[in-house]
Symmetry: D3
Subunit: 287 residues, 6 copies
């Protein structure tokens, strides 16, 4: 169950409006690694944890905080849109700043949301749950979280570089600091799980069931061998289960596949038209 | 530039057809963490590397290999669909296996692709580039890659558990082993970059510009304090830049936001209807 | 800012697992009118209210409650998936219930989410922010909300009819009651705004600027005139601004449009190939 | 069955081209509440009405008219794009109006559609059937329709405010008037159905089956009690079935959920790693 | 402008309900090549024709007919869903036909559309305007249309093969015949345009501006030379502008690209970390 | 299996950066008919060919080449983005070119991809597999391919017209030439298959099973009879199976459909509210 309090976690007030920056700022609200993504990703992971304890609590703590960040960004965007110019380009464009804004602002900020934030990214793609990840395996998911916080902090930093508004920079410097913490915390949690399990996810699948002869091999599929110089091409593997090998010229291990003709009720190109040179034997049992 | 050879990297032949498993297997071909995702993710990361050397080569090596995995899965799925039953449920359902297949197989495998693999997941969602990540920052992106291989291996293992077909299991055990390698290699690359830079992405943003007072703080936003027991709540932070703190009862740092009325040309609810109790001063400059 | 408490708003425990119902129940979690939709719709509307007071508070109250409903449904779905059967169809289908489950359950519940709820609907479409609405005009938006609660309660009722599990029915009867309240509350708020403004949104656009001669006319574009029998075809209009009229045989008011040829740099079909019979005069000013 | 006549329902001719406004105007052609949405929404509702009579006819009348509005907008957009400038920014930008157009127009209008309208919104998102609603329950659906016409008229009014072109304004004033009628007609139909049934959708679900104790309760989940001042918090409920109540401090009614561990074949984090403090009793029957 | 008449173009009545076939039939209503796609594709092409005459008329004729086909399919699907079974699997599955239906029908047909047709395909993906094509170049677009009718007829034929219901087969045999006509008509129109222009689209781009030395060359990028046996590898090219050539071993014509480092404000991996072996000279002018 | 070589198939180097053109160029990389679409379309068609021989080889040859084109475009876009300006509009806009770029460039090129190419189109829509086609019927699919190359060449030509950069023009002239070849080759393959089968896809469905009386009829559904003048309205049909006919005033062949009421558990509007005038007899068998 959730409670909302109306005060913001941190300030979200620009020095002055900037409709073009409002459009860009949407990226970290409703983009692939925006606050909606991390909020719902952590909450879904938390709800799906089978068991209980500190990991579940950590997910719920952080998920609830990200809801507060959505709120801060929505507030900031609305304020950046205060009094956004609309109207005739020909008149307006006498002032090149206004011209650039009229050409460059997100038109949906005026037409659709009435100068409010939208659940969308900086080019107007609506947020989609395709962005989020919750597998039930915590080590896998904490890696997803570390990635999300890495991409998210990178984007916030890039936005910080593109404005001189002190109010915006102040809020971004808060969000960047929180991303620092969140990268730290997921690294801590990952290290703990890796120590208890193994670095390879999932740790519970018996290694003898995989084709161990290729579990630590780098195949060189891009001509030239610069990649042979990396740690991943020699020495003990990171999972402690083998030794890295480098295969300069990978060879195929199976022959050219030739598929059986489709049944006539499928109305593919008739087999008489596609010649089937050297078809392999049919599979043993067709239903 | 790319060359194709017609032989497969590894065998992709089931013991016998199974249209229901064909549908499930689509997940690791065209799902969020399927082979299309990793192939295009690594290739785009590789093409966008500004500079050159072993990291770019490693990305191109692995991206090209994943194209071969798409090919193996497409071949396997077409064979699992050999002679898939269609037709009248009422007759067919006398055999409960056929009935379950008619109800459960992906109808597009018959109607749309003519018993071929589709660029879609196990419920029929078409693959989308929303799944992939390429930021230009290699540490961020290698974390994305480690996550992708973790989720991907987890899904392959779950599929392995749901079939007894020895041909399918053989192919999956190959793919699982390759995911083992790929997790190993991205971990190796991550460790190398973390050692050269720092664990926090991006490493080049001056720490003094972020709100350092909250860079290592865990806020307890979910009632109860199980999360205080974690490594992330005490001791030196993982980035070596501070000490973790735990805040039991987080407080808001900004007051309740009150937004200015919209200009009349936006035709929001008129301000006289929404009473604006205690509005804050307007921003200094409206265009 | 948001706080989470770990207790649920209401019980979410089935009598026993049912993986097929888990799939169906996803509709009201992650479908077009599921709880994610209403939660984010109300929160975005609330954050974007320009002004303050009871409407904003009502939106935040209800938005926060819907977060609790996502949580209840996620919990219920995980429990419905407890120990979901996977494995070989041929063996399993000896029990027709297991067969129907293997054919009918959402395969991503096993492969992707590890027996957890997903941010998706009952056929597996991921949730998208295309579902939600926040325009800045409260009367418009409250109508969106009333629709959402109407569709949502209808779907919950349909789901109630398809199960005999007393635990599921108990939870649904709670959610249905809350939808009753939410329909009531949006109707109350709508009536209040309609009384203050007018029933036509937006109320602030001067009526003299619209083509008033067609503001209260029903055009009969589907042959036969059953629709003439409705209240909308005679009597004073609901906005009190006119009298409804019925036009049996609507006539076009503008002539057949003929577009100018495209510039040659567009490489459309050349004008010599498409004959332009009776082209109208070109527009007065081409940039 | 449908017939098309080539004359337009109303004029669709700008005074002069304006590629930037063409981009914005796409919103009410192919956006969430554009004419494609209402046309297909009304037609699908009409086709799915089980029964016959005036409601079905009204839906078909209005759906067919909206097809004519798509046509008007498509024609207007093509004319606004007449001779749209393309070419080198550096040369063009000497004229700031051209510069703003080159930066701001939708590039797909030149590259993809050859200066024609697109089935997309003002930021280029393609139209999707996620936007439309047809449930089989007419009261629910007429509320969806009232919302669509409210949002649609609001957007048309906002567009009207951003242009001085008399041809565009003329067409918009027609469309705005038709939206006035359509809001009126859906309100009339809603009132009729509410009088026959009840205001709560669906009216056929027995009230005794819902948890009546919370059917008329407002839970205060956002700190502060401004929302207590509304009509929804006191007095007889709008459905005439109860009395509104306001709960200042809502309490959870169910305890903290603890989920059973996943079966081993799911390969979640092992239960030994996630400690399961105080797990509840397992459900009675696992398949 | 459009008129609707309530009679159907052709019969749409099954012998008896079949909820599973209703789901499959959605493919040709709301799938990639369903009737919504062709209706809107032809209408948008027609509206965007710059000029007038028989091609535009043909597009409008056919577009309007496809609206009638949507209507027939929507009617058929609603009838196939008449009285669709819902309810408890455990009881129902005693009848294996009911069991297969409960597992296999589209749950949204019951929960969302109330036993009505949906604007979606056979796996539940909602229709999207990503499916349609209108470029302004008629030869290009008529090829798109020929493809759409080819895929569409193929899918209708595959559906015809999977049912024994005489009512369904009767309607499909009508739709298949119309697809026969539509393939014929687009072929006729294509031949006419190819005769007037050239077979290569667009015909108006001066051939001297393309790299003519590769305009008729087949590069053998898949090892083995079966493709050398085709008409495309020898003889006069189909456009009459050259002679086909076959290149057995294609060579790259440009050297390995090495990208300049990103500016520091982008915060990519620092150049010192990615070594830039042999970087090429920087581009001449950076803004 | 695939090999990558690091050299490019052809040069991809602009004279100088141009962030606005980089945005536009995305269309033929990641748009509906961009290189990702053709690469994956040809590869999926190739993998799904049931049989073997020259058609499959041709598909794999061309699919592999298109991967090289993705690579060229990705490289070109990264170079066009070299040193792209970011920063404060107010300062920057003193130079109108910079102003137009700041307003007009794709903000994700800076924020998300770090000045790299994205798998997206020119307005930022991410690539989706909804764009591609692989049916198993080669004649159908080669028509899809001919369309893709026609649309693709058209778009490349339009882009060619909008730049004066000689490096960009050089690369485009290569891609345009390759599209010339690909149109030629698919036409050659289509002619061959049409000669072996028939022009109507699929050729294997017995003509007597379709309603032959409407297989060659043009129905005039758009008032006015310009379309009667076309080849499609008279003479022998292109499939040689009939004679084209033109029906000036098409009549419906089925009566007005009236659907049965929904079962009560669906909770549609009750039949007593929707009057069912003259309902037809119920279908013979409701499950």
């Amino acid at each position: 169950m959730f409670f909302h309090i109306k005060e913001l976690q941190y300030h979200a007030k620009p020095e002055k409006p900037d409709a073009l920056f409002a459009k860009k700022l949407q990226e970290i609200l409703g983009g692939q690694f925006g606050e909606i993504s991390v909020a719902l990703q952590y909450l879904f992971q938390g709800w799906n944890v089978r068991g209980n304890g500190k990991y579940k609590d950590l997910l719920m703590d952080t998920g609830a905080e990200e809801l507060a960040h959505i709120e801060m960004l929505a507030t900031m965007i609305a304020r950046l849109l205060d009094g956004a110019p609309v109207g005739d380009l020909e008149k307006a464009a006498k002032d090149p700043v206004i011209g650039a804004i009229l050409g460059g602002m997100n038109p949906q900020h005026a037409i659709v949301s009435g100068l409010g934030a939208m659940p969308a990214d900086s080019v107007g793609n609506r947020w989609t749950a395709d962005y989020i990840i919750a597998s039930g395996n915590l080590l896998a998911d904490f890696r997803a979280n570390l990635n999300a916080e890495s991409q998210g902090r990178l984007q916030a930093v890039r936005l910080y570089e593109t404005t001189t508004d002190r109010g915006v920079k102040d809020m971004l410097s808060w969000l960047i600091a929180r991303d620092t913490m969140h990268q730290n915390q997921w690294i801590a949690a990952i290290k703990e799980l890796e120590a208890k399990e193994n670095v390879v996810v999932p740790s519970t699948f018996p290694r003898r069931l995989e084709k161990r002869e290729v579990s630590h091999v780098l195949f060189n599929f891009s001509r030239g061998n610069e990649s042979a110089a990396g740690r991943w091409a020699h020495g003990t593997s990171l999972d402690g289960e083998g030794v890295f090998q480098y295969v300069e010229q990978p060879q195929p291990l199976a022959k050219k596949p030739i598929l059986q003709p489709a049944p006539s009720y499928i109305h593919d190109t008739p087999p008489s038209v596609i010649k089937n040179h050297g078809a392999e034997a049919p599979p043993p049992h067709l239903y």
